[in-house]
Amino acid sequence: MNSSVIVFPGSNCDRDIAVALEKLQFKNRMVWHKDSDLPKSDLIVIPGGFSYGDYLRSGAIAAKSNIINEVIKAANHGCLILGVCNGFQILIETGLLKGALLRNKNLKFLSKDVFVKVVKNDNKFCKKYKSGQIIKLNIAHNEGNYFINSENLKKLEDKNLIAFKYCNQKGEINEGSNPNGSLNNIAGIFNENKNILGMMPHPERMVDKTISSEDGINLFSSLLG
């Protein structure tokens, strides 16, 4: 599997994602934002960080960058795209994913381990998990409060496009297990073709037992085919 990690000025989880991909034997390339050629990839990852300083609005400038046009083209051809944290924000800004990521409910940067439920495993990103499986991942963001209008929310639900929901250790999805105010505890969503996943939690931070845990590893191994 060939993967590409897009590096914007201000990306800061690019190395972490590359470490996770290489651990799973992806043939990975780092792609600089000024490049207009994208190497042939089966998977493109847009990592977390503060692309272009996140000035203006999180992800807004990156969504207008050289390389992002190539990413959009690849996405429309069915290439797998994963956006984590700032990567999710960028995917929203490009319009590849629907909705908006607002300031966290408590208006503070929030970094902690959270439980999320894998809603369904009938997609390329989650197939190594069980449907309904509860995993522990780490979040670290200022704008992760997912919002979408009721019409589109219904679409997400009807078409089974919600990938992850925040929950507690027992899997209960409620206000108490919602860290940032996200609508319906949504932590990650797909596009309609389910070849694009955007998520606020960081799976790449949970791929090594010595350091943290291996709860995130199945997301990457699912993509190996």
Binding site: P9, N12, D54, Y55, N142
Partner: protein
């Protein structure tokens, strides 16, 4: 412009210092030159009051690659790896403008570390505020915490450990100390010493603006009621640009094109260029027309004294300019050759085809004033308080009050605002005795901690200095690390006051004694004087940042209880020293008497014993006993665990408050498996270590027989609520 006495004083210089300037120049300086002298001769840059005492510190052993005097200290951790680290204060700016003050404090210390060729891998901080009841405290706390987070989170370096304390002594002068730790290859360390004549001096990074002019001079004076007016002297940070600057510098450092490199910190372009020339025994010539400026019409005076952030000065090898420029172009950063090294041993500034300043380098550095200020010895106070003379309180009530107090509360509210996991190597996060960070791609890790105990230092600075080095050592041991070296940030009041100077001198003697005994040298640091407002000085607050090595194979040890029916042992003797304790302060508002005694022999023996037990896989969890004494340490082991503990009162108990709240030093709590109890007891006997069983772990309940019984979920809430309610 005529230099008047008033102008001299406005530059923070004494009139006799101005006479010395005229003597050194053999003429009157112009305004620009006066500004440069004021920037280099202030306390912050010249260490004029502290140098004499800093010489006493223990700074060398076989692990030290670079001790104090460079941008940061460097230690050897084997296998060709080096750790580069330093702590620095940003107290004055943070009081005036908490968000930017704290943010640029983080930015500054990061530059000190990556300037030396290290990739920063961890950030720490020690922050001290006034009492929570003080009107300003809440705003300052919020601003400082979000400033620290705002910078570290954006640049993508995990903020992994710290301490936050409240005491009315900081009501009008908070402390914000930031520490950065980086990893480098031992044979790829970069220094600030210039070499060679006619080499290009290159300016890289952000443009120069009008922010932070005279910042270092501000940090060298006390505050008064007009301090608010100093807001424009606080710099504004841009972590995004710093991220670019860091990546560009580290990319350039892979090649052999840098002769020397220095960040533009306090006193900006002035101190960086003088520093490089001084260390290389050379001169430096700058063409100020070339300096990238943010605004039009900036004067040489403003350019030389600006403290705009995210800038570096580099001296390049011959013909490397184009190669280096490409890298900075890639990162969209300014890269301009602004001058060259010379053999004149002077700093010469040109502007619009005229020489606008011309000063011998030594006048700004080695010939800068040095003071041996008068200092008074400080007596150890005699013990005054007997617990039996105080109004009785129920043990449970005292515990609940202390465990939910501002100083003993869990700091989750703060640490959740910091990204602790970015870079993917954080093994142990905030909340334990020390944080543990894996060396990328290697089977070893470093442990880091930052500590202070101003109350002990106020009571007896020498003991306080000793104690805090020992506490740092214990915190590293408790996570299974061998302590290697420290960095110190010495926060004190006005050095012109002999009492304060006495606190300073004696603190250093205490730090030295402990460092020497434990073979735990100081490799970098910073002195911050004039922490006070209107003649009221803060408590002497030496802050120690410690680094230790967790060698392979990495064993994860922390303070959280791990199992059921495991014996919990207390290692080290309990005498019940209550003077200067949290108990006396929180319950009776008493701050008298001597601090607990520090016995270095016991510290060393107990620490080495714990480390041996960890290496031998005999420990399930370990915790240092510090402020709040035994009962607080035991409760902390239950917070975040699924297990509680059933504590037995020792048979020889004379007074329950003395036993459980006493702050005797050199003690640890360890949880072991029952099957290993006999083995551990034998080992401690053999090594002459005092230990006793304090209780056994159990499910769900924290319990001291006959005194208190609390569900661990409630215990968690008691410990966590303060910050969320503040």
């Amino acid at each position: 412009m005529k230099i008047t006495n008033k102008l001299v004083e406005e530059h923070g210089l004494k009139l006799e210092e101005y006479s010395k300037i005229k003597e050194l120049l053999d003429r009157e300086p112009n305004l620009l030159e006066l500004g440069i002298f004021s920037a280099m001769w202030n306390e912050h840059c010249s260490y004029k009051s502290s140098k004499f005492h800093l010489k006493n510190l223990y700074t060398k052993n076989k692990n030290v690659i670079q001790g104090p005097g460079e941008n940061a200290g460097v230690i050897d951790i084997g296998d060709g790896d080096a750790i580069v680290f330093k702590i620095e204060s940003h107290n004055h700016p943070s009081f005036i403008e908490p968000y930017q003050g704290a943010a640029t404090g983080v930015g500054g210390i990061l530059r000190d570390v990556f300037t030396m060729g290290a990739r920063p891998i961890a950030l720490l901080n020690s922050i001290h505020f006034g009492s929570p009841e003080n009107k300003k405290t809440r705003n300052l706390l919020h601003g400082v915490v979000s400033g620290i987070g705002g910078y570290g989170n954006c640049i993508g370096i995990p903020t992994v450990a710290g301490e936050t304390k409240f005491n009315s002594t900081y009501n009008e002068n908070i402390l914000v100390n930031a520490m950065a730790v980086g990893h480098a290859k031992k044979d790829k360390i970069f220094y600030s010493k210039a070499k060679g004549i006619g080499k290009s001096v290159v300016y890289v990074g952000s443009k120069t603006g009008r922010d932070g002019i005279h910042g270092a001079s501000m940090a060298s004076a006390e505050f008064d009621e007009n301090s608010e007016e100093k807001k424009p002297t606080v710099q504004v940070g841009d972590p995004f640009t710093e991220k670019l600057l860091m990546e560009a510098c580290l990319e350039l450092m892979k090649d052999n094109s840098i002769i020397s490199i220095q960040d533009m910190g306090a006193a900006g372009l002035t101190s960086s260029s003088v520093e490089m020339a001084f260390k290389g025994d050379l001169g430096i010539e700058l063409n100020l027309d070339k300096v990238p400026c943010r605004e039009e019409g900036m004067s040489p005076y403003e350019m030389m004294l600006s403290e705009s952030q995210e800038r570096m000065l580099i001296i390049l090898e011959k013909d490397k300019e184009d190669f280096a420029k490409k890298i900075f172009d890639k990162w969209d950063l300014d890269f301009v050759v602004i001058g060259k090294t010379t053999n004149t041993k002077k700093i010469t500034l040109n502007y619009k085809q005229k020489i606008v300043a011309d000063i011998p380098i030594d006048a700004l550095s080695s010939k800068a004033p040095q003071y041996q200020r008068k200092w008074n010895k400080i007596k150890l106070s005699e013990k005054k308080i007997n617990i039996k003379d105080l109004k009785k309180i129920k043990f449970e009530d005292s515990f609940l009050r202390i465990f939910s107090s501002s100083n003993q509360s869990n700091k989750n509210w703060i640490t959740e605002q910091y990204d602790q996991m970015v870079m993917g190597d954080t093994i142990q996060r905030s909340g334990g005795d020390a944080a543990v960070i894996k060396i990328h791609n290697k089977d070893k890790a470093i442990a880091v901690t930052v500590d202070s105990s101003a109350k002990y230092s106020k009571s007896h600075p020498k003991t306080g200095g000793k104690q805090i080095v020992c506490e740092s050592w214990r915190n590293l041991i408790s996570v299974g690390a061998k302590p290697i070296a420290i960095t110190n940030c010495l926060n004190f009041g006005n050095p012109e006051n002999p009492e304060i100077m006495g606190e300073f001198a004696e603190s250093i003697l205490g730090i030295k004694e402990a460092c020497e005994y434990l073979n735990y040298p100081v490799v970098s640091g910073n002195v911050s004087f004039y922490n006070g407002t209107n003649k009221k000085n803060i408590y002497p607050t030496p802050v120690i940042g410690g680094v230790g090595l967790v060698s392979k194979p990495i064993k994860k040890v922390n303070h959280i209880l791990k199992g059921e029916e495991n014996p919990v042992l207390i290692v080290g003797k309990t005498f019940g020293h209550l003077d200067q304790s949290t108990f006396f302060e929180e319950i009776y508002s008493i701050n008298e008497g001597p601090p607990p005694e520090v016995n270095l022999l016991n510290e060393k023996n107990n620490g080495e014993f714990i480390l041996y037990l960890i290496k031998s896989n005999l420990i399930k969890s370990a915790h240092d006993i510090s402020a709040g004494g035994l009962i607080v340490a035991l409760a902390e082991m239950c917070v975040g665990s699924n297990y509680g503990i059933k504590i037995e009162k020792p048979k020889r108990l004379s007074n329950i408050f003395e036993y459980f709240y006493g702050e005797d030093q050199g003690r640890y709590l360890i949880e072991i498996e029952k099957k290993n109890l006999e083995k551990v007891e034998k080992l401690s006997k053999k090594n002459n270590i005092f230990q006793e069983i304090i209780g056994f772990t159990q499910k769900n309940t924290f319990e001291l027989k006959g005194e208190l019984k609390i569900n661990i979920k409630d215990l968690f809430n008691i410990n966590n609520k303060w910050y969320y309610n503040y």
